[in-house]
């Protein structure tokens, strides 16, 4: 899992035209997106033509008919029906063309071809969780170097931990989306389409990423081998509160066999309890609000949390133990640490009791105050110890 926390791919500017690069930074990476770009350029050049025409006339008239002492403005008609009809009809024709072509492009952008992968996307303040058709959830995230046009490897996008979602090239995908709290919006600038996500209904988002070509960079991955990939940033485009601008993700387009290998890995967390806990925490978006390095964020840091005492808003002082963590994850509003907002939602039903056990194990390893025997228990790998009795430790 050394791809975890790796950077986003550096992108080589492809065959995009100068105007594509001027307006969009690059050409789109879907067929439907390119047809939208074509429409934009059509409107752009038409607008440039009419703008230049109007401004040239305005400047010419202003100069030609500037006030001169002693010269009066001649009487000229203040009305000309044929001219007025012409300049009503011509724009109307262009507008009708734009409307129809725009609607055709809209259909292309929003309707998935047959045979699309259907994935489920849950958005919440301030991250998202994507569940593959088989129930797998990506455990990989990128921490740095997120840019929408990551041709510059030095780029940073804040300190966000954006999840990485793998999808195969040339494969139509449909996301069935809903929100757990407020309205969000799913925008992949590279695909030129966004769709709002509501708490009380499903909306869908579709894309068919282009094939990877020779310009795509190569990722060295210890688990699945080297492969070509291409990254597309996902941004939340509907204002959703404090960390709206940190709500991002990465769609990583890879060859089909890599996609399948990744799903295999995501389906079965491995390693010690603590390692599994870290994977689950990542998948469930805990790091959107909690740091593990002691830095301040929306929620308390997990560093040195376990088995230390803290002040709570009800006046009590509590030593963080297993039961307190269980309560804080399943009923977060029950006790609020002094200095932090009452903002976390319950993870009851989203984090299973077994996964909760793994997360607590992970938190133990992050604290210097954890007793030695607790620390040792967190470092156990159940598969290595008990591999013959598959499922015996399952919840």
């Amino acid at each position: 899992m050394n791809a975890l926390m790796a950077g986003i791919s550096p992108k080589v500017l492809s065959t995009a035209s100068f105007m594509d690069r001027f307006w969009f930074g690059d050409s789109s990476f879907t067929e439907a997106g390119r047809s939208g770009d074509w429409m934009f350029m059509f409107i752009w050049w038409l607008s440039v033509f009419f703008f230049v025409l109007l401004m040239v006339l305005m400047v010419y008239f202003s100069y030609r008919y500037r006030r001169r002492p002693g010269q009066h403005a001649p009487v000229s008609p203040a009305h000309n029906t044929p001219l007025e009809i012409t300049w009503t009809v011509i724009p109307t024709i262009f507008f009708v063309v734009m409307f129809f072509e725009g609607f055709r492009g809209y259909v292309k952008l929003n309707y998935a071809p047959a045979g699309a992968i259907q994935a489920y996307l849950l958005a919440y303040q301030w991250s998202w969780e994507l569940e593959y058709p088989g129930g797998q959830v990506s455990s990989e995230a990128t921490m740095t170097s997120v840019g929408t046009r990551a041709s510059n490897p030095e780029q940073h996008f804040s300190s966000i931990k954006a999840p990485i979602w793998y999808f195969p090239e040339k494969q139509p995908v449909v996301l069935r989306m809903t929100s757990r709290d407020v309205i969000h919006s799913f925008w992949v600038p590279d695909f030129r389409v966004k769709m709002d996500i509501f708490p009380n209904r499903y909306t869908s988002y579709t894309f068919t990423p282009d094939a990877l070509d020779d310009t795509a960079p190569i990722m060295e991955d210890a688990e699945v081998g080297a492969y070509r990939y291409r990254d597309h940033i996902v941004l939340c485009a509907e204002y959703c509160g404090d960390n709206h601008s940190e709500m991002a993700a990465v769609i990583r387009v890879v060859p089909r066999e890599i996609y399948e290998a990744k799903l295999e890995i995501f389906g079965s967390p491995r390693g010690t309890l603590a390692e599994r806990g870290r994977v689950i925490s990542q998948q469930r978006g805990c790091f959107a609000c909690h740091s593990v390095d002691g830095s301040s964020n929306i929620g308390p840091t997990w560093k040195d949390l376990y088995n230390n005492e803290f002040q709570y808003t009800d006046g009590s002082t509590i030593r963080v133990d297993d039961n307190h963590l269980r309560e804080s994850i399943y009923e977060p509003a029950a006790k609020i640490r002094v200095g932090y907002p009452n903002q976390m939602v319950s993870y009851q039903g989203m984090i299973s009791p077994e996964q909760l056990n793994w997360i607590i194990a992970y938190m133990r390893t992050l604290s210097g105050a954890t007793p030695a025997e607790d620390m040792a228990a967190a470092m156990v790998d159940p598969d290595a110890q008990d591999g013959t009795q598959e499922g015996s430790d399952g919840g």
Partner: protein
Amino acid sequence: MSTIDTHAGHSSHGGHHGSYLTSKGSLWADVANWATTVDHKKIGVMYLVALLTLFFFGGVMALAVRVELLEPTRTVEVAGEMVTTGQRLGVLAPDGVSPNNIYNRAMTLHGAIMTFMFIVPGIPASLGNFFLPLMIGAKDVAFPRLNLASWYVYVFGSLFALASAIVGGIDTGWTLYTPYSTMTDADHWRVVAMTTGVFIMGFASIMTGLNFVVTVHKLRAPGMGWFDMPLFVWAIYATAIIQVLATPVVGITVLMLIFERLFNFGLFDPRIGGDPVLFQHFFWFYSHPVVYIMILPAFGIISETITCHARKKIFGYKAVAFASLGIAAVSFLVWAHHMFTSQGELTAAIFSFLTFLVAVPTAIKVFNWISTLYKGSIVFNTTMHYTLGFLFLFTIGGLTGLPLATLSTDMHLHDSYYVVAHFHYVMFGGTVIAMLAGMHHWWPKMFGKMYNEPAAKLGFWLVFLGFNLTFFIQFIMGAHGMPRRYASYPDEFQTMHIISTFGSWMLLAGFLVHLFTFIHSLIQGKPATANPWGGMTLEWLAESPPDEHNFAKEPIVKHGPYDYDTVVPPNYDPADYPLPEKPYTH
């Protein structure tokens, strides 16, 4: 002064007895007089002062937002420690509050103040109040007491909204989208205070609108038929109709939002059975027509300034007048184009089509204005600078709206900086620039003083260039993938954000120059004659500043508002601004 008196036919310089600005003796008498006045001119000036004060607050918020965006937030390793940089406003955040929250509040206040408190009441309540009765030759508006009441209601509502800002502000965005606006700030009353303020200010808007509709219908001077009205009057009339019809909807909407928050009504919050999209429909059913409440009066001003300073009849008078009414009518049918990314394809198609329908009369107006320049006698004073600046900026604003009305391109550009740039080109490049054109055009009439033209032109160039520097780059940023309302952003946008922020400082410099020229004019300005530009509309028959009762005797309309090429105004002073020589022909 005496030279001016001899040039002007009758007493026509500032400060003469009987002017509405004449002091009542003591400061207290003046304060009492202004506070209880029913004179539309004083109310117009009081609105102007209140509006510009709020514009200042909204502007400070905008500058704060731009300063925050100079740098993205970065967490970088410095000497082995992780350090977060770039949170400029974040240092103001108290413990337990996200640094982004301060940006979100500044962004919300900027939007809420500028829309609800400045640009919606803006031109109609200030210049409209002052000039609508003058331009139709009336003594006052139809209901002078209602007019004063509307000012107090407006100020009272603003105080509610500002109180919410002073105790911490809200972070909902000016659009107040549910369910965020019903969930945020749960322990406080700030969202309720702000929305109550908006609710109250709605009544001021309705009162003004009602007053203007009746005034236009009943108080026109003898001889003034509907098609003898100046186009500014047409525009204010169309605006007033929208104000009366649309404003109740925002009243209902914010009232429902308040009830939702206080009593859990379950209208908008899905956790208690509501639908957040319903709120968007309600909100935009008002807030789209309101866009035309903002822009139609600007169209009216431009029709006045371009004709007066080009000495030309407006090209296609009826087309321009009916375009105003047409825009007002269709404006009620396009609300859902703010929701292309949140609804089904049928609604999207219908509203995309209706949106293009609004574009037609808007385009016609621009063609008409530019044709008006043809064979004119154009003078390049500050007002004309702003008028031509309006045509430049508003044309960009209009054309860049086309990819937003087109469904396939809007799916990408929606809720990005492209939209931010587009509506600033329309609202600022359109309405604010036109308001500045109107203020420079009518300043001598309002206060009886001329201003320093070279200084005002410097102000124009700073505002014009600063505005383009601030906002043109935002079109490109948005198309590249920069979403709106982001406290932080990917590094690749930093250069563009820096350019934009520099532009905002230039804009600030331009406004400071204007503030200086206006204050300088009030203190030391040369007295203005009754008709310094040689205008044909009736307000120029009144003194500068006008008498308390506007006209010495009721004017009788004998020529059209724009008969510049056949009639020369009787009371203009050629020493003030040389017009081409021409015999009197009326």
